[in-house]
């Protein structure tokens, strides 16, 4: 595919994305939105300081985010580094919460293809059911779309039955045109999900970037009939931001996309804000951060 896609209307996209963030979502609608957002969360920990103990604790929280509010569902998945995928899988056995692992030289992707494939295989062998790979921005920015695509195809093969989420890392692509193009390449190459960011770059899943990718998914689905999911990751740290992303998905792709099979939010700190906001709707009292455990 040559880079001949029509240009993305930057001003129009940002205007529409911002407009969709201005809805007033209150009371029962807010509660429903928060429960929905929690059920679509990829609860993530990607720190050098992650330990098996921390991951186990996070898994317990993923299964039951708030013991005092049993109506809050489990999150969709736990996302960790490959070395901890086994720990997470063990802790999540039989809970319905899936284990996701980043791979392919996350977050920069600056390693050879053989290393990327090996890392993917290792993560899956350890128990990962979903793989979050990064595209090779180095190749993409040099114009080598064929290599970007080839890598995704090979990683997809290595994944087997595991779901593949392809991170385009929007902050490093430079423009909405590139974001749309990278999303298209990823979907053509077989991605099950396209994902905005690693969470390690300067910006993440901004409303504009989300809308561009959602429209790419919509156009791709119309053209080919294949359903691709979307994961917004990076910078979604408040309930308001999470609900905004839900509105973007609903208005662009419709209600069918509002399930954990087709939409995810990748985040860490947003869960506590969602829980705090939920508690506020129940009690009418603003809470304190110590109300909910960090892990």
């Amino acid at each position: 595919m040559i880079r001949r896609l029509p240009h993305v209307d930057r001003v129009g996209i940002e205007e529409r994305a911002a407009m969709l963030g201005k809805r007033s979502i209150k009371t029962t609608a807010k509660q429903q939105g928060i429960r929905l957002a929690v059920s679509m969360l990829d609860l993530t920990t990607l720190e050098g300081a992650d330990t098996p103990g921390k991951v186990r604790q996070l898994c317990a929280k993923a299964v039951c985010p708030a013991p005092t509010m049993p109506e809050i569902p489990s999150v969709a998945a736990i996302c960790v580094y490959p070395a901890l995928a086994g720990v997470a899988r063990g802790a999540l056995q039989g809970t319905g919460v899936r284990t996701a692992s980043v791979a392919t030289g996350f977050p920069s992707g600056q390693v050879g293809l053989d290393v990327k494939l090996r890392e993917t295989e290792d993560a899956i062998a350890a128990g990962a059911e979903e793989i979050d790979m990064v595209i090779s921005r180095e190749a993409f920015l040099a114009g080598d779309d064929a290599r970007v695509q080839e890598e995704i195809v090979r990683v997809k093969e290595a994944c087997g039955d595991a779901h593949l989420k392809v991170i385009v890392e929007t902050a490093e692509l430079g423009s909405y045109d590139h974001v749309r193009h990278a999303s298209m390449i990823s979907m053509e190459a077989g991605a099950d999900f396209v994902k905005t960011s690693t969470g390690k770059a300067a910006t993440g899943a901004t409303p504009g970037v989300c809308l561009v990718m959602l429209e790419a998914i919509r156009d791709y689905a119309e053209r080919t009939g294949r359903i691709v999911g979307f994961k917004a990751a990076g910078g979604v740290s408040t309930s308001k931001a999470a609900l905004h992303r839900l509105v973007l998905v609903k208005e662009t792709l419709g209600d069918e996309w509002l399930t954990a099979d087709r939409f995810r939010i990748g985040a860490s700190s947003v869960l506590n804000d969602l829980l705090m906001q939920y508690a506020k709707t129940e009690t009418g009292r603003y809470g304190r951060s110590e109300d909910f455990s960090k892990e």
């Binding site: 009292r285 603003y286 809470g287 304190r288 951060s289």
Partner: protein
């Protein structure tokens, strides 16, 4: 041709920024003669929430400063108020009240590095331990300011809280808010870090209720002298586990400083540690 004078429109002071109320509401500020002298924002419950969030962010760094440095900053705030004293006296409060407010700030600036030696120290215990107590700030302190005197009454609550290392979210007098709003503009150009003092103007009943109900607020100093509100704050304080202290508004410098230690103690927590000394 007569000139049309431009009336000032004040803003709230939240997190070191001068902002409009999230609700977009405004009220007229009246002078003592009943004339419309300025416009001021009518804060909402969400502004209270934003102010508490800003205060929480500012609390750690403010409490971590040395007492000496906090004293310098409060002294500098007194300096800034002094240089604007004539302006305040012309607009909102009497010159005597401004002078008293400056003196109270100065007084508590001097207290910052004396709280520790006065309230804390080594405890005499009949066991082979070293037991010592250290005063620590309570956290975020809400202030409900009195109507009279609007500025001195506010400073008398805010200054000791700041001196002890707390951060403040204050609800200004509903009747006479200009002195407090002017104080915000003075502190805004002093060295007081953003979020350490947050000032909200608006309906006292609405804002004090929201402040009292916020679980992330650690204490409330109520100088409004409203019996019904006091009872409500007691109830909310008990529900959300916060310290509540009711006091008469300080009408003079002497009243604001006479009970300095009890004012400071009200917003201080004593931490006691037991250390084995090789018995």
């Amino acid at each position: 041709m007569t000139r049309l004078s431009v009336r000032k429109t004040y803003k709230l002071w939240i997190g070191g920024a001068f902002v409009r109320s999230e609700s977009g509401r405004y009220d007229h500020a009246l002078g003592r003669d009943g004339a419309h002298v300025a416009n001021l924002p009518r804060a909402s419950r969400k502004d209270v929430r934003d102010a508490v969030a800003a205060a929480r962010k500012a609390f750690g760094p403010w409490a971590a400063r040395t007492a000496y440095n906090r004293g310098q900053i409060l002294y500098r705030a007194a300096e800034a108020l002094e240089s604007r004293a004539a302006e305040l006296a012309a607009r909102s409060v009497s010159r005597d009240e401004v002078d008293a407010a400056i003196d109270v700030l100065l007084h508590y600036a001097g207290w910052t590095d004396k709280i520790h030696p006065v309230l804390g120290g080594v405890n005499p215990v009949a066991a082979p331990f070293l037991s010592f107590s250290v005063p620590e700030p309570t956290g975020i302190v809400g202030v409900v300011a009195p109507d009279e005197p609007e500025l001195l009454g506010l400073i008398a609550e805010v200054a000791p809280a700041l001196a002890a290392g707390n951060v403040v979210v204050a609800i200004l007098s509903e009747k006479w808010p200009l002195g407090g709003l002017d104080l915000g503009e003075v502190l805004g150009v002093s060295d007081v870090p953003g979020g350490v003092v947050n000032l909200l103007s608006g309906r006292r009943g609405e804002l004090a209720q929201a402040l009292g109900a916020h679980r992330d607020l650690n204490a409330i100093l109520d100088a409004a002298g409203d019996a019904e509100l006091s009872a409500e704050l007691d109830r909310l304080g008990a529900e959300t586990i916060k310290r509540v202290r009711h006091g008469r508004p300080a009408a003079t410098y002497d009243e604001a400083v006479a009970d300095s230690l009890s004012r400071l103690e009200a917003v201080t927590e004593l931490k006691t540690a037991w250390h084995p000394v090789g018995a």
